[in-house]
Assembly symmetry: C2
Homo-oligomer: 312 residues x 2
């Protein structure tokens, strides 16, 4: 395993985790450190659209690494969201834009910045190292930024993400907004999925003291289309709640055109959600104006709601 | 506390922690983010020699920070080696060259590189940001590199540290080797210190599961001179072990001319040290040939020794 460097993002890979792995493997190889990109899970439809558009091959699946592996972690620095065996591997480098939760035995090369997308950081590394960004690579980096920032509408988006995306669109030779809508739209296609699959496309669990909270999110360009399947989705959510003893399940459907979200909230602790957003659920649902980010808006509101309760 | 950014290194500051705090505060201020450098402990004689040579003022002592403080951590990323209250402060940035052991609630700006000295990384930030390096700042950065790399003899030293030091010497207008010997020599003078002070000049604590390990290091140009005080040093170490419930205390005296170290090892877990270096301590001491770096040689060997034990 020691003849190449393994580059990968997180499990349940999104477009940034795939595109930035490809981008980083290319940069390293160009700089003389032969590297290959890998995925830690199935490619979603949005990412597939990006790969198809720019005719880039899907990275191979990586099941595990070991103590002989040289690895580069991108778009993630938490072992719990990484590949099996990561704690034994030799970490050459980390490039990320999430909170830091990393413990290493030796000094490593780490660049973390609070920007909207890993690809925005990688763009600067290409410039520093004076490595050419080909149209294919530019297309993948651009896709990552458009995806992570929800076309600049997410509160995680910085001016740097926007400027970088504009430059990359020129290199890729495509219209940023036209492509962006198509990319995000591709990610909204749930037609081939069962209700159970839909609620698991991008689902994250959070444990807070005795409470188990699950927040699942999908993007949509037409909320009505998704909510036609409301009864079916609710059954799938109720099944999952019963099976996994979840106290609060928040299913978030984010309108990528309007930058709002409509939610389905179930479980025996929906009061937490109502208090967090100061809303009354009607038929298990409500619309959250301007809310699009699980990381920066939904989770912090719920955690704050919990603390309020504790202080009472 | 919110009107300025606090820049500081680790407790028991060495020359890099002081020089890089000064250097970073200057860079940030030049870039429009008003910042001040602080020290988290007394200045050692080596650092004082550098400050006096380049006529730079000693940073003020910082006792604690709170949730209103904006801080930049340099030359350290471990809360256990930082200022009181750090866990509540807003961390703007981390620039370091040690192992990573950082947990943050939100994304932060972090640059860590496995180079010999923090100042080597800061030099690149000055270049990136196109901020002038004055002779005073160059002198401080150069001092940090000479100190951390033991004039390029430490295994932590990279080609980058060496080239950066040569460039800085030109800006500072001094002879690198002549100044380097005087700087390191100034740091070896323990004549005015009590034994207790000697063992605390550059002491770092490491917590590993239930174990508390302390590694203290001084430089010397004459090991015999230091070991004349062995009995007195051992008493001071035993006192500290009893007071602070330390399991393993390693006092390292590094010969800056020969690039070897002689150690005094005490505590109820000296077996860890013996296993780590495959040596038998005689009279609590041994000589480690070619070992000069706590970060790259002593700590990793001890951690590996611990893992060996755990696997048994």
């Amino acid at each position: 395993m020691a003849d190449k460097t393994f580059v990968f993002g997180h499990t349940n890979p999104d477009t940034d985790s795939i595109a930035s792995a490809i981008t980083m493997a290319n940069l390293q190889t160009e700089m003389g450190n032969y590297s290959e990109s890998f995925r830690l899970g199935d490619i979603n439809k949005e990412t597939k659209y990006a790969l198809d558009t720019f005719r880039v091959e899907e990275p191979e699946m990586l099941a595990n690494v070991d103590q002989t592996s040289n690895v580069i972690m991108i778009d993630n620095n938490e072992f719990s969201q990484s590949v099996s065996g990561i704690e034994n591997a030799h970490i050459q480098m980390v490039v990320d834009h999430h909170r830091l939760n990393l413990h290493t035995a030796e000094p490593v090369y780490c660049i973390a910045e609070p920007v909207g997308c890993t690809a925005t950081i990688l763009y600067k590394l290409y410039k520093q190292d004076d490595v050419e960004i080909t149209p294919k690579i530019a297309g993948m980096m651009l896709s990552a930024i458009l995806s992570d920032t929800l076309m600049f509408k997410s509160p995680t988006c910085t001016q740097q993400d926007r400027i970088t995306a504009e430059r990359l669109a020129k290199i890729a030779g495509i219209d940023l907004y036209d492509y962006g809508y198509k990319l995000l739209e591709a990610g909204t296609d749930i037609s081939g999925y069962t209700a159970e699959e839909v609620i698991n496309i991008d689902s994250k669990d959070f444990q807070h003291q005795d409470l188990k909270i699950t927040i699942s999110q999908i993007n949509s360009s037409n909320l009505e289309d998704v909510f036609k399947r409301k009864a079916e989705l609710e059954r799938a959510i109720e099944d999952k709640i019963a099976r996994e003893n979840i106290d609060l399940f928040v299913f978030v459907v984010t309108d990528i055109l309007e930058a709002n979200s409509q939610v389905i909230v179930l479980g025996n602790r929906t009061d937490i959600f109502e208090r967090a957003f100061n809303v009354k659920l009607i038929g298990n649902t409500t619309i959250l104006k301007g809310v699009v980010s699980r990381k920066k808006q939904i989770l912090p509101a719920i955690l704050e709601g919990l603390n309020k309760k504790i202080q009472l």
